[in-house]
Symmetry: D2
Subunit: 338 residues, 4 copies
C-alpha cells in the first residue's frame, strides 16, 4: 500500500499516518518529495488493511493498494500450471477437455441417450444438474439424489467422469459421494460458508464466475477454498451481466488469458450459459479455445424442445460433433489438442 | 405470454406452436392478422413456461412474457401496504424507521456506547454483524454467537429491536434465537436454499438487493421466502454494481418508488453500503427518504478509524444526530414522520 | 504518479524507469524499502503521462496516478462555488432553479400553454428541443430554427431564460443567437470538436453526463470547454446505463454530492430522462434536491399523450405544481430555497 | 407492436387504445381472450410509435415491440452478405482482412517503418489516427492534414488501402480526400449529424461500437448512414464498458456472431482497444476470428514505449507476424482464409 499525502499536508498529519500504520504492525517507509510526501507500507502484513481507513485521515490525498489480496491462487505463489487429474483425464494439461450433458438430469434414459452420443464424439466428462438453482420458486428444482445416482451410473457406463452442482453446505457430503468434480454456481460464488466447507474436502471444485464478480473477487473466492487445504480448484467463465440484453449474459472471453496469466489454476468456458442462445454456443466455444481455455462445458440435449430447463441453449448431439471437429482445427494454433 | 409468428410462417408451423402449448396444459388463443399471426397464451398456468422454448420453434418471430413471474410479493396479490410489527415498531407504516449500529459487533462495550447514542437520537433498531461475509478469507469474520449475545443484551438495555445477518441455513436457528429481524446479505440474495429455509421460520426477514440483481429477480427472491409461508419480508436497497467506481456501489434510488409501486412490502435504504463513503451517507439518506423509503439503515461507530470493518463508511454519532434532524424536515414533504 | 517496482526488480530495471521519466521531463523521487522500491513522479508535468507506458516496463509491479487530470473544473483550482448569472437568475446560489418545458418544441401555441403554467408555478427557465438527437433516423428530428424562434419569443413573454440543445459545431452560432444556455446532450459528451468550439463562446453551457461516462470523464469534458476560456459550465445528471431495465436509465443520485465536493461548478438533475417514467419523476426530483442539486430540469407537456417525443416521461402541469410544493418543504433541510 | 390489456380493462379502455392507434394511421387487430384482450398493431407504419405512449393509457398492462426498428442494415432487407470492395481488397468476403498501423500518425518515417513490416506480414490496410479524440484536453490531439498526407503516401508506397478517423462533419471532405475508409469512433457512434453527413458521401465507413451501445442502437446508427444512400458500412467491435476494470474495456466477442446473423454488413474486431493490454491482443484476435469476424484491426508500433498514444496496447511488428501465423491456422475451421 502506498499513501500519498496532500501537497499541503502538515508534518503532524504525516506522523499520525505513520503512527497508525505502526500501531497496526506495519512498517512505514517515508519518502519526502519536493512537493509532497509519499508513505510506503512495507513489511509483513499481519492483518489486512482497509485503504479507506487511511483515505479519511487528515492530509491524505490518496491511498493505493499494491499487493494482490490473493496468495495461493496466484502465479507468484506457484508459477507452474496446476493440472487436476481425475483418473486418466488431466484438466489444465495440453489436451483441452470437453464436459457435456443436459442442463438438468431428467431421467436415466435421457442421460443415457445424451452420454452415449457426446462420449462417442469426444466428451470426457458428463455434466447434469441434480440440484437446480432457479430464479423462480415455481420452476423445476431438480431430481436431487436420484439425479446423482443416474449421473454416476451413466458416467461409469460410458467411462466419463461426472461433474454436478452443489448448492449448499448441507449437500456437500451427498454430492461428493457421487460426483468427481463439485461445481459452485455463479449465484453462490460468494457464499463464503459453502466455499469454506469445500476447502475441507478432497475433491476438485469448479468455481463459476458470479454475474457481477470482478476477476479479483473470483480469485479471492478460489482463495477461500484453497485456504482450507483443497488446492484442486478450476475456474469457469460463464458470462457476466452487462447492459446488453441480446444475449442472456456477456461472455468475457478476455477473462481467459487474464486468468491464465495471473493464476496457475485451469479455466473452463461455458458458452451455453455465456450466451443463452443455441446458435451462439459454437462460435463462442471456438473463441474460448482460441483464447486459451483449458476446457469447454456445454449443454447438450437430444430433444431440447421438451427439456425441463434451458432447452433453448442446448446443442443437438450432431451440433456437438460439428463443434468438436472445428475445435480440433483451432487447438493446434496455440499448441494444444482436443 | 404472447407468441408472434413470422410474416412467412406456414399454417403448419402455427399449428405446431398451438399443439405444444396445449400439450403443456395451456390455452392458446390465436389471432390472425393481415400480415402475421399472434398467439396469446391464456388460461391457468400449471407449470412455468420458458419463452425461449417457443422462440426456437420454426416460424416464430418473437415471444413475449406478459405476466409477472411473482405473485405473493406483488401489489396485484395484495394491494394494501404490508406493515411489519416488532413490538411497538411498525415497519412500513407512516413513521420512517431508523436502524443503526456498527458494521461488525466488536465487543459489548463498543456496542453499548454506540447503542446509547443512536437510541437517544431516535434509532429504533440496533444493527451489527456477528457473522461477516468478507471477500477475502483473511479478513475478520465476526464474533459469531458471542456477537449475537451482545446484540440482544444491548438492544434490550436500550429498548431497541435487533437486526443481524444470517449467512447460511445452518445459522438460522441460532440467529433467530437472538435477533428480531434476520438479514440476507447481497451476496446471498440468490442462495435459494437459504431463502427456502427462511420461508419456514416466523421472524421477519430483510432481503438486501444483490450487486447485479434486477428488480424482478429481487422480487422473485422475496417470493421464495413468502412461498414458504413467511410473509414478513422487507427489501433493502444497498447499491448495485456499475462501471462507476468513484463510489463503492451505485445506489439505485429509483428502486425505492418502483418497489413501492409493484410490491406491498416495505423497503429500507442502506446508504452506508450504497456509497461506501462517509461524507456521502447523509446526502443519500436524505435522498432515500425523499424518494419514499420506509426506513434507513446506517453504520455508526464512535471510533471509525479503529473499526474492524467498514470504518470509512461509518458515521460518527454526532453525524447521525445531524442526519436525523434533516430527515425530520424532509419526511413531511411526503406525508410521513421520522 | 507513483511507480511500484516488483520485489525481484533489479537495480538496472529501477534505473531504466527513472531514465524514462527523466527523458520525459519529470523528476523521479526514489524510495527504497526493505522489500521493494517505490518511485514517485514529482515536479512540473509538461506532457501527460500514460501510466500504462510504465506498467509494461520490466520490473514494474504497478503504476498509480495520484493527480487528478482536471484542473479548471476542480475545487482545488477554485474552492468557492461558481454561480452562473443569467439576468436575475443565479444558478449555483442558495435558490434551487427549475427548468421546465416540453421535450421537443412542436409549435408556438404548444410552448405558450406550457410556459404559461410552469412559469406561474415557479420555473425560471424554459427548456425545449429544436434539434433532437434521435436513435432512429426515422423519428421526428425537431423544428430547427423555427423552434428556436418560438423558444425565444415565448421565453421573453413569460420572463423566462431559455435553454436548448446544440448537436453540432455548425449549429453553435445559430443556437447561441436565441438561447441563454446551450445544452450538450449525453451522446455528445465526448464530441470533443463540439466541446472545444463551445469553449470559444461566451454563453453558459449545460453538459449532460454520457450514458456510460465516469465522473472523471465528465469532469474532463467540462475541462475541454473551460480550457477554451468559457468558465460558465454546469453539469446535468440524467441517468447512466446499467443492467437494470425497469427504468430507461439508472439515475446516479450520488453523483450530485460527489460533484459538489470535487468541483465548484453547479449541477442540475434531470429526472425525466433519468427514469423515463412519469410516475418516477417527482420522487427522483425530491431525491435530487435532498441530495444537494442546484437545479431540476423536467419535461412538462399539457397533452403528453400526443407529444411528438418522450410523452410518457412528461409531467402534466398540475403534477409540476405538486412537485414544486414538495420541493419547497425539502429545500430548507439543506439550507436552501426553491 | 402488441398491446396487452389488463384483466380488468373495460371495453371503453380497449376502444380508446384502438382509437389512438387508428388516429396515428395504424391498423389495430383485436383478439379477445377469456381473461384478457390483446391488440396487435399491424399494417404499414407511417411514423414510429413509442411503446411508452400506450403503456400509460388506462387499462394497458404491457406493450411489446415486435418489429425491428432498422430496415436497410438488416438481413431481412438484404439476405446475402455485403462485400465492400476497395481496389482488390474485399471486406466481408471469404478472406479475413487485416488492418494494422500505429494508434496515431507521428511522422512519415514512423509510419513507413511500421507499414513496411505489417504489409510484409499480410496486412492489406494501413490504420493511423490523424485526428485523435482524447479524453483530456491536454493530451496529444493528432497531426491533422499532415498526418493524412503521410497515410496516403505511405499506404500507396506499400500497396495498402488507408483507414482513418473522422471526428466531425467539418472534417469529412478533407479526410475523404486521403482515406479509403472513414472511421467513426466509439464516442461519436451517436453523433447523428456526423452519421447523416457520412450518408451523403460515397466512401466506405467503419462504425465503431459505442462504449455503452446496445447492438440494436449500433444497427440504428448504421441505418442513419445507409438511409442517406451510403450502403458501404462495416461494424467494428472494440469493447464495451462494464464493471470489470482489469481490461480497459470488455470485448463483446458474442457481438460478432450476432451481427453476422441479423445484418448483412461486415464486422471487424479491434482487440487493441477491446483490451487495452498488449499481451491480451493476440488471444482476443484469435478469438474474434474463431467467432467469425470479417477482419481484425490492431495497433502496431516499432517502439511502443515512445509512442505518443496507446503504446501499451500496441503490438511489436514481430508479434504481428506471430499473430498472423496463428490466424492462418484458425481461419479454415470456419471455411475462411487469412
Amino acid at each position: 500500500m502506498v499513501i500519498v499525502m496532500n501537497e499541503q499536508a502538515t508534518e503532524d498529519q504525516v506522523e499520525k499516518v505513520i503512527a497508525a500504520l505502526t500501531q497496526k504492525g506495519y512498517d512505514a517507509h517515508r519518502s519526502t518529495g519536493t512537493t509532497r510526501t509519499v508513505i510506503g507500507v512495507v513489511g509483513a502484513s499481519k492483518s489486512p488493511l482497509d485503504p479507506r481507513e487511511f483515505e479519511i485521515m487528515p492530509g491524505v490525498h490518496e491511498v493505493v493498494k499494491i499487493t494482490e489480496p490473493y496468495k495461493l491462487a496466484g502465479r507468484i505463489f506457484k508459477p507452474e500450471d496446476t493440472i487436476i487429474n481425475i483418473g486418466d483425464i488431466a484438466i489444465g494439461g495440453r489436451a483441452i477437455v470437453l464436459m457435456a450433458g443436459p442442463c438438468a438430469v431428467e431421467s436415466e434414459k435421457q442421460l443415457d441417450i445424451i452420454a452415449a452420443s457426446v462420449s462417442r464424439y469426444g466428451a470426457r466428462l458428463l455434466r447434469g444438474g441434480a440440484f437446480k438453482p432457479r430464479t423462480s420458486p415455481y420452476a423445476f428444482q431438480g431430481l436431487g439424489e436420484e439425479g446423482l445416482k443416474h449421473l454416476r451410473k451413466v458416467g461409469d457406463r460410458y467411462g466419463m467422469a461426472v461433474i454436478t452442482e452443489v448448492m449448499d453446505t448441507s449437500q456437500i457430503e451427498l454430492v461428493a459421494r457421487y460426483a468427481d468434480i463439485l461445481q459452485v454456481g455463479a449465484r453462490n460464488m460468494q457464499n463464503f460458508t459453502l466455499l469454506k466447507d469445500l476447502g475441507r474436502i478432497r475433491k476438485p471444485v469448479m468455481l463459476k464466475r458470479g454475474l457481477s464478480a470482478t476477476i479479483q473477487e473470483w480469485m479471492l473466492s478460489a482463495e477461500y477454498i484453497m485456504a482450507g487445504g483443497n488446492h484442486d480448484v478450476m475456474f469457469c467463465e460463464r458470462g457476466i451481466r452487462t447492459f446488453e440484453n441480446f444475449t442472456r449474459n456477456t461472455m468475457d472471453i478476455s477473462a481467459i488469458p487474464i486468468i491464465k496469466k495471473i493464476s496457475h489454476l485451469p479455466i473452463i468456458a461455458d458458452p451455453s450459459h455465456g450466451t443463452g442462445l443455441r446458435d451462439k454456443v459454437i462460435p463462442m466455444a471456438r473463441a474460448a479455445v482460441a483464447a486459451g481455455a483449458d476446457g469447454i462445458m456445454v449443454e447438450v440435449h437430444h430433444e431440447p424442445e421438451v427439456a425441463l430447463s434451458d432447452g433453448p441453449q442446448s446443442l443437438y448431439p450432431e451440433q456437438f460433433a460439428e463443434m468438436m471437429a472445428q475445435l480440433r482445427i483451432i487447438a493446434p494454433a496455440i499448441g494444444r489438442t482436443v
